[in-house]
């Protein structure tokens, strides 16, 4: 069963959402669904005490990813 919600976004937030949807070929619903899954999978790793890193293309810089 699917449930419906209203999401209030600022003009800037909506603009980012629309740009991402266009770039990924997804509807707003599908994009938010994907974002939620990714957030959850990262959050679960952090909950387990694991660390998530983002590395620059030349591997010179490595930053630990922090989420809410």
């Amino acid at each position: 069963m699917k449930r419906t919600m209203t999401l209030n976004l600022t003009e800037a937030e909506m603009s980012v959402l629309e740009r991402l949807c266009e770039g990924k070929g997804l509807s707003k619903t599908a994009l938010v669904r994907q974002a939620l899954r990714l957030y959850k999978s990262v959050d679960e790793r952090l909950e387990r005490g694991e660390k998530v890193f983002v590395e620059s293309a030349d591997k010179a810089e490595k930053i630990e990813l922090m989420v809410l």
Binding site: R33, L36, K40
Partner: protein, 203 residues
């Protein structure tokens, strides 16, 4: 929860005819007990040289993983003759679900974590397999899920060595080479274009 989502034809190798089978989404205890009771003994008694690469997979643990995280996992099964003919666990969100294909890098996709057909359907394991096409039907379910999720049919997986030819030659997936970060298994992707071609060729 387990739900029938369609009737599909499986080719009976002995009868030479198609037989109705049921495609399920989700899994229940009876299915897992059935797999443990009928698949495991056949894997255990296989000669060492014929023992399948997936014989050690524990479907009960995989099902639990899927049930605990319904946001990211889906599990599919095929039943005929009162027995499970094949199982598949797919991931639809998270780190594995981004394309590496040059046609559409970083686009979202469905990742097939585990796909297995029952031991009695395997030519390498027994002389006269029962059904043909179980793996293909399960794989097409992953393609359908990918379309439903707006991923345009894109599907990825890491293949066990014995299944590489099936994914490369029969399903026309792109072989993107051995993945040093994943037990050196070869990584395959079905691109958007390949998904369209596969669907149009599907009877």
């Amino acid at each position: 929860m387990k739900q029938a989502i369609g009737t599909i034809p499986l080719f009976g190798l002995e009868s030479g005819k198609f037989h109705d089978a049921v495609l399920f989404q989700g899994v229940d205890l009876a299915t897992l007990q059935g797999i443990e009771a009928s698949w495991t003994p056949m894997f255990d008694t296989a000669a060492a040289e014929n023992r399948p690469e997936d014989a050690h997979w524990e479907w009960a643990a995989k099902a639990l993983q899927a049930l605990q995280n319904p946001l990211n996992y889906e599990i599919f099964g095929i039943e005929a003759d009162g027995k499970t003919q094949g199982m598949m666990l797919v991931v639809k969100g998270g780190a594995k679900c981004f394309s590496r294909h040059p046609e559409h890098p970083r686009m979202p996709l469905v990742y097939v974590d585990f796909l297995a057909t029952a031991p009695w359907n395997r030519r390498g394991l027994i002389e006269s397999p029962t059904y043909k096409g179980v793996g293909r039907v399960l794989f097409m379910s992953a393609v359908s899920l990918s379309i439903e999720e707006e991923f345009a049919g894109r599907v990825a997986l890491h293949s066990l060595p014995g299944a590489e030819a099936f994914y490369r030659d029969r399903l026309s997936m792109t072989d993107l080479g051995a993945d040093g970060d994943y037990q050196n298994l070869r990584y395959f992707e079905l691109s958007t274009t390949q998904a369209r071609q596969l669907i149009s060729a599907w009877p």
